[in-house]
Symmetry: C2
Subunit: 230 residues, 2 copies
DNA sequence: ATAGTTTGCGTTAATTATACGCAAATGTAA
DNA sequence: TTACATTTGCGTATAATTAACGCAAACTAT
């Protein structure tokens, strides 16, 4: 009979949200020992009878009350055997997107706090969570260019300038507004709605909506979403 | 005190090899109970004090004697809680590439056999290994188009026609030989060597070698490898 | 009215992809 | 020895796509 492993398995999630001034991630404050507090990614140990993705959903639900628009496995962190100094813990990391405009963070219970952090103002996190987050940002950036997941960070209906800003901000690149619009419109995956104005100065803009159904149909026909930048 | 988890953690590896007539994967025959034998991906439980990637290397070394040219984490399979009918096992899957021309498979010990299987002639495997393999093939195909990993499946020195065939076979697409050559050469990541002939009929061809160093330098400067097909 | 903004639609030049043509260099069969 | 099949290596013409701008329309604030 073989000796049982002494390895724990956890899930951690990066929850990304976008506001007009930048990309954010959701962090929770954890208590270590009696005095140490650290910000960390939401997550925790997997239960014996639950799937990995269920574990992520459960942890997120316990600690926040986000409504996910997208979730995907990121990477499994288990090469550093001392990433958790107390025990050997392997973490399966996920990343998720939410419409931050529709999100209210759960009221903080006890000493536990939940908060959005701008992606370039992340403090030193618990465990290897800074590493995980970095890897998540890279993945998000990459995926943004070849799959239409940007829409999952925006409200149902959005302005073209919102979409454009989202791409510019997250990818940290300059894009020609007119070429970007032409490109996206040529994909034929957006539909128009009414109008909006007065929100800002300038000419009133049309509101658009991402047609996921149509996108899936196009995929079947061999369509491939792709946005490139200089 | 929390109750300890009862979840095991394993690693499994897909080892890809390329021969002129197609893509292959390395499988081992496992004994289940007293009579059942199944082909499966090489792999096994992770030890308490070893990293995930070390576990893969060890398992591959125990079961085969492959010399890897590339290895990368693929995905962690833990959503199906009954993927192993005996216990809850979460598997971190890796995929690796080898130069199959230089590879001799370890002599089979006892009843355990190791064998190359052509990718479209894979039998029904143990656990969810067919699923893992499928996911690995998809990843390999995708990666082949945006990173120069095709060279890791070929000998140090190779003919252009080998490279071309590798792409055609694995991606199951037709490519214009001349445009393909032009494209790859334009990247300036190959260097020439001597000559070869007589291997086949026709005009003798130059042997090429992938310059990994140069590739890395180009990456630094913003270069992006990419092969597209109609 | 006038100035300042943002939107929506175009045009043109540069670059890249696609589809071929064809001669050179070999082995082989007549 | 010549003719033929085969594979390689280099080119060229055309189509398609990308990148770089121009500019008027539709608003707000002064």
């Amino acid at each position: 009979m073989e000796k049982l492993q002494n390895i724990r398995i956890a899930v951690d999630a990066i929850v990304f949200g976008y506001k007009s001034n930048g990309l954010y991630a959701l962090l929770i404050e954890q208590q270590f020992g009696s005095s140490d507090k650290y910000w960390a990614l939401p997550g925790g140990l997997v239960k014996d009878e639950e799937s990995l993705s269920d574990a992520v959903i459960r942890e997120l639900h316990e600690e926040t009350n986000v409504q996910l628009t997208f979730m995907e496995q990121l990477y499994t962190f288990g090469d550093d055997i001392h990433r958790d100094s107390r025990n050997r813990v392997i973490s399966v990391a996920y990343y998720a997107l939410v419409d931050a405009s529709k999100l209210e963070i759960k009221a903080s219970t006890d000493a536990e706090r939940v908060q959005w952090f701008k992606i370039d103002e992340i403090p030193s996190l618990a465990f290897d969570h800074n590493l995980i987050l970095k890897s998540g940002i890279e993945r998000l950036k990459a995926k943004l260019t070849y799959e239409p997941i940007g829409f999952d960070l925006l409200p149902e209906e959005f302005l073209f300038s919102d979409l454009e800003n989202l791409y510019c901000t997250i990818l940290e690149k300059e894009i020609d507004r007119r070429n970007f619009r032409k490109k996206i419109l040529s994909f034929d995956i957006l539909e128009q709605t009414d109008k909006i104005s007065s929100v800002k100065s300038g000419r009133p803009a049309k509101l658009f909506r991402f047609n996921k159904q149509k996108y899936k149909e196009l995929i079947e026909k061999g369509f491939h979403f792709e946005i490139k930048f200089a």
